[in-house]
Assembly symmetry: C2
């Protein structure tokens, strides 16, 4: 029997197959643990589908913000994505190396750099977004549409 | 003006102070991004308070499951916490080194090891849990009690 990945879900087997007893521990009653577990299994699923584009979720997130029209600075990316500045620099380097983004001088502050997408980066983001949308659907398959809407509303309120 | 950390929250300033415009991007409309951001800011807050015990959130999670009475194996810890087996081994090594947990042979499968807490480990977990509970309260301060309950219910359904 092959090991089941944490992101595979089917009717018969819950995704914590074999470890249901850990679902009754005090840790599993902590909301931030549950948010982290949802994020981790979701990221694993998204990383799986993004592999065909040679991307990981962290590249995807930076690329998405580069394509937002908001011209984020590296400092803003770091703060919004809750990643160290050094991690942001390395992700941008990788995206720049493959021609998906460009660093430009911030017209609001010439000491600062903003991130802008190239045409190829916009196209890459479009493809990646479709893959991530489908992967997210799978991650949330256990919730009704109304429950997804409510989870989204509450997560926005708590996370932003 | 000192930089504001992502986990500091007060009445006047939302925790994404200065980057509200990124809250209107497509990325900020993705539920798994929001779950990841909540988990990351929550972890940063919990790591901050756990530092006084020399722990990080990942040690805390493993210690919590060790103290659950469920005698988790390393494989189960890896699956439940969505961490690589090598990461689990390293976290257990650190907890074992400080005398908080012990590896024991699994009576259900002699090739496998289960994790059990020491008396010191139980005491450490009690202290850590109090700190994490207070830190979680702060992370969720923007939600009403009813909203927290609903977020918890939906996260459990989606994450487990």
């Amino acid at each position: 029997m092959t090991p089941r990945t944490t992101t595979s879900v089917d009717e018969e087997t819950p995704r914590i197959g074999g470890i249901e007893r850990l679902a009754h521990t005090d840790l599993a009653a902590e909301p931030l643990f549950l948010a982290a577990r949802l994020a981790s299994t979701g990221s694993a699923g998204a990383n799986g589908v993004l592999a065909e584009l040679g991307l990981k979720v962290r590249h995807y997130s930076v690329l998405a913000l580069a394509c937002s029209g908001e011209e984020p600075t590296q400092r803003e990316l770091s703060q919004f994505l809750v990643l160290d500045p050094s991690q942001i620099v390395s992700i941008i380097d990788e995206l720049e190396h493959r021609g998906a983004v460009e660093r430009r001088t911030d017209p609001r502050d010439r000491r600062s750099k903003i991130l802008a997408p190239t045409a190829a980066g916009r196209s890459l983001y479009g493809q990646a977004r479709d893959l991530v949308t489908r992967s997210t659907e799978e991650s949330l398959t256990g919730l009704s549409v109304a429950e997804r809407d409510e989870l989204f509303r509450l997560l926005r309120k708590a996370a932003l």
